[in-house]
């Protein structure tokens, strides 16, 4: 037997959970702890450490550790730790691998697949990076699940009996990211209506604010410059985090760092922090999260008082100020029956069980988190599949030609990454040839966008008059993420379709045939090394073909 586990790969903590047929267990690691710090470190002897060991190492030697790897995923290639260069993906992989090993040890069987959660705002490259990291760790990603969706899933599973229907708001304030989503639930179906978030807002930012305050006091009152010493920075940041947590249940907390060298000799700085002070410091950040919450409510056109349930997720949501502000918005009191730190991992485990068909009578719908569309004649973007459409989703639209007797059109698929970022990203393009010879504006070209539950976009273009058609599947919004062999298959497919309708010289035809043959051989023998070598050549050929094609885009019909 092999199992699919749920992994909450968080900015500060990573958790793994398993649905055992009856209930969900958050799997303890080899130390018996259920929460693994997302920290990667290199010990003095060169050993790779993750989790709690790495966190301890980080206190001993801040330079040798790397934290919050999730924030770097998909944006930074590699980082330097203790003088050595590490690809970010491999750091994430090491952390996931540790969790996988712990799970196998606890469960007693091999774990080959996992449902991994990511913030709803994660962009394509970031999602791909998570997938790649899991791949390196030896896990197939059964599904990438949005964190708030997972939280709602956990909740709706836990409360199947007593909450049959309603609208849910998930406020997920984690260690490094903030997400807020609105879901609707009826009987046993759960649907995400809308989701907003900020991937650079989390508990660590609160710690930073508190640290800045403490550092200020240390330097003005005790004459100690904290920033001069990375050890001290790490240590005091850690104390600040603990004080912040303490202040959620108490009114006061103390930070003390004995035996520090100040300008006037040895000092034992001690500082009492009050909850009011903390709230003053972090209020702007909390307000930012509240603004996003209101934005998502506006988007769904649901009034705050019509939300039936508020779910808090992530450790920072325990802060009393958060609940206070949420209540001020008109929301109901949060349901506190599920541990906010574990709710996402539990949801991932439920989804994993659902995928393995170990859990029945429970249907669930996710939405696409990006808007997909096409480029048309003047280079502008026409949205076709809007954000927040329930998956699986299908949208069709008719287009036509721009010029008389145009025989081919280029279908250029675009996406907008998120609502906070208006940049439009090219997903890919392909050519539809064999269009009926007619005056401009006459041909009817139907473009069909389809995203399945696995988040794979398929675009299909068809000339309704001649029946000429061409379809292309985009993996996770882009093909760059594919492993070499699949990418090779994908490129060969595009090469052959790009060659249709072009008049090529013999040399080109031979080269093309040879290349496709090599590519087939590669796939037959599963030789990914050779595939890797062939890929750049195929790309050059594809460019050759596309440069030769008349570039004419679509017009709206």
């Amino acid at each position: 037997m092999h199992g699919v586990v749920g992994i909450d790969f968080g900015t500060t903590n990573t958790l793994c959970a398993w649905f055992d047929g009856d209930t969900v267990v958050v799997i303890p690691n080899d130390r018996g702890e259920r929460i693994n710090p997302t920290v990667f470190a290199i010990s003095d002897s060169g050993e790779v450490l993750t989790g709690a060991s790495a966190r301890n190492q980080a206190l001993a030697d801040p330079e040798s550790a790397f934290m919050a790897v999730k924030r770097s995923l998909g944006s930074v290639e590699s980082v330097t730790i203790a003088g050595r260069n590490f690809p970010v993906i491999e750091i994430a992989a090491a952390i996931i691998k540790k969790v996988k090993q712990d799970a196998e040890h606890y469960l007693g069987f091999e774990v080959k697949e996992a449902v991994i959660t990511v913030p709803a705002r994660f962009s394509d490259p970031q999602r791909r990076a998570v997938r790649a990291a899991a791949g390196i760790a030896g896990l197939k990603t059964a599904r990438i699940l949005n964190e708030p969706t997972a939280a709602a899933l956990a909740k709706s599973w836990a409360s199947l009996k007593d909450v049959p229907a309603g609208r849910i708001l998930v406020y997920d304030f984690g260690g490094g990211t903030f997400d807020v989503s609105v879901l609707s639930m009826d009987q046993s179906a759960c649907r995400v209506l809308a989701s907003e978030g900020d991937s650079q807002l989390g508990g660590v930012d609160l710690d930073q604010l508190l640290f800045a305050h403490v550092a200020g006091v240390f330097s003005s009152e005790f004459g100690i410059d904290l920033s001069a010493d990375p050890y001290l920075v790490r240590h005091v940041t850690d104390l600040c985090e603990r004080a912040k947590i303490e202040l959620s249940s108490r009114q006061e907390a103390t930070i003390a760092v004995p035996f520090l060298q100040s300008a006037s000799g040895l000092a034992h700085p001690k500082l009492t922090l009050s909850r009011t002070l903390l709230e003053q410091l972090i209020a702007p950040l909390i307000d930012r999260s509240i603004t996003l919450t209101q934005k998502v409510l506006n988007e769904t056109k649901i009034k705050a008082e019509h939300i039936d349930m508020l779910i808090l997720s992530g450790g920072s949501s325990r802060i009393p100020l958060v609940t206070e502000r949420l209540l001020a918005c008109g929301l109901r009191k949060p349901d506190v029956r599920v541990n906010p730190e574990e709710v996402v991992a539990i949801g991932a485990a439920i989804e994993a069980a659902r995928l393995q068909k170990r859990l029945s009578g429970f249907s669930f719908t996710d939405v696409c988190s990006r808007t997909f569309g096409l480029e048309i004649e003047d280079g502008s973007f026409i949205p076709i599949l809007p954000k927040n459409t329930a998956l699986p989703a299908r949208r069709k639209r008719e287009f036509t030609t721009v010029e008389d007797f145009q025989s081919a059109v280029e279908i250029h698929v675009l996406q907008t990454a998120s609502t906070t970022d208006d940049t439009i990203i090219s997903v890919g393009k392909f050519l539809l040839s064999g269009i009926r010879k007619a005056n401009k504006g006459q041909p009817r070209i139907e473009v069909d966008f389809y995203i399945d539950e696995g988040d794979i976009l398929k675009v299909h273009a068809r000339d309704l008059d001649t029946g000429a058609e061409q379809s292309v599947a985009f993996f996770e919004g882009s093909e760059d993420s594919l492993p070499p062999l699949q990418r090779l298959a994908w490129l060969s497919q595009r090469l052959s379709s790009a060659a249709v309708g072009l008049s090529l010289d013999t040399a080109m035809e031979m080269e093309l045939a040879e290349m496709l043959e090599h590519s087939t051989a590669c796939q037959r023998e599963q030789d990914s090394g050779q595939a890797q070598k062939l890929l750049p050549l195929l790309e050059v050929l594809l460019t050759e073909l596309s440069v030769r094609t008349e570039k004419v885009v679509l017009r709206e019909r």
Binding site: S503, L504, D505, T506, A507, M508, M510, E511, M515, K533, P536, L537, L538, E539, V540, L541, T543, E544, V547, R548
Partner: protein
Amino acid sequence: MNDDSCYLALGLGRDAPSEEIRKAYRNLSMKLHPDASGTAATALGFTRTVRAYKVLTAAKSRVSPGTLRTTLSVLDSATKTDVFKLGQILVSAQDAKERSEAAKYLGLSGKRSVWVFLRKGLYDSDERVICSCIRAAAVLGLAQGGSEIAGAWQRSSLTCRKTILKIAEATRSELLLPVLKAAQQSEQPELRLASRRLLREYSQDHSA
């Protein structure tokens, strides 16, 4: 048409051995012969190739083999046809001559996909290697890469620029059009003149 420009027209360096001349001729025929290209537009280019080939084979037969200056290749025969190895040599060999050779054999493969390697060669520290790459690319019939070659032109010295213009003159390769346009703006009057003349010839070719 002197011997030098005949070699260049085939994308070869001076004194290339007969089998390379034959190979280059065959490669170009498969791109330029109207039957192969499917368009009459390449007929002129094909005539030029045939002429160059005839001049060179006649010259070879006039010279008895013993008196031929033999250029020893630094690459073994298996490497000469392995584009991946050649690509590797082009970017990593210590010896500039070896890199140059690699560029030449990449060109002799006749495959357009080797552009992926040749384009890297445009950034070589040795201008002879850059020229070899451009010479090889000029006869591949590429539709991409013109602007990258123009970029290499902008970076290169006067001698190298002259060589590139010679390649353009011998091959009339459209790949070098961006170079000619850049050369028109050149500070050296001789380059300006030469490029203007070449551009005229290019457009005559086109109208014919």
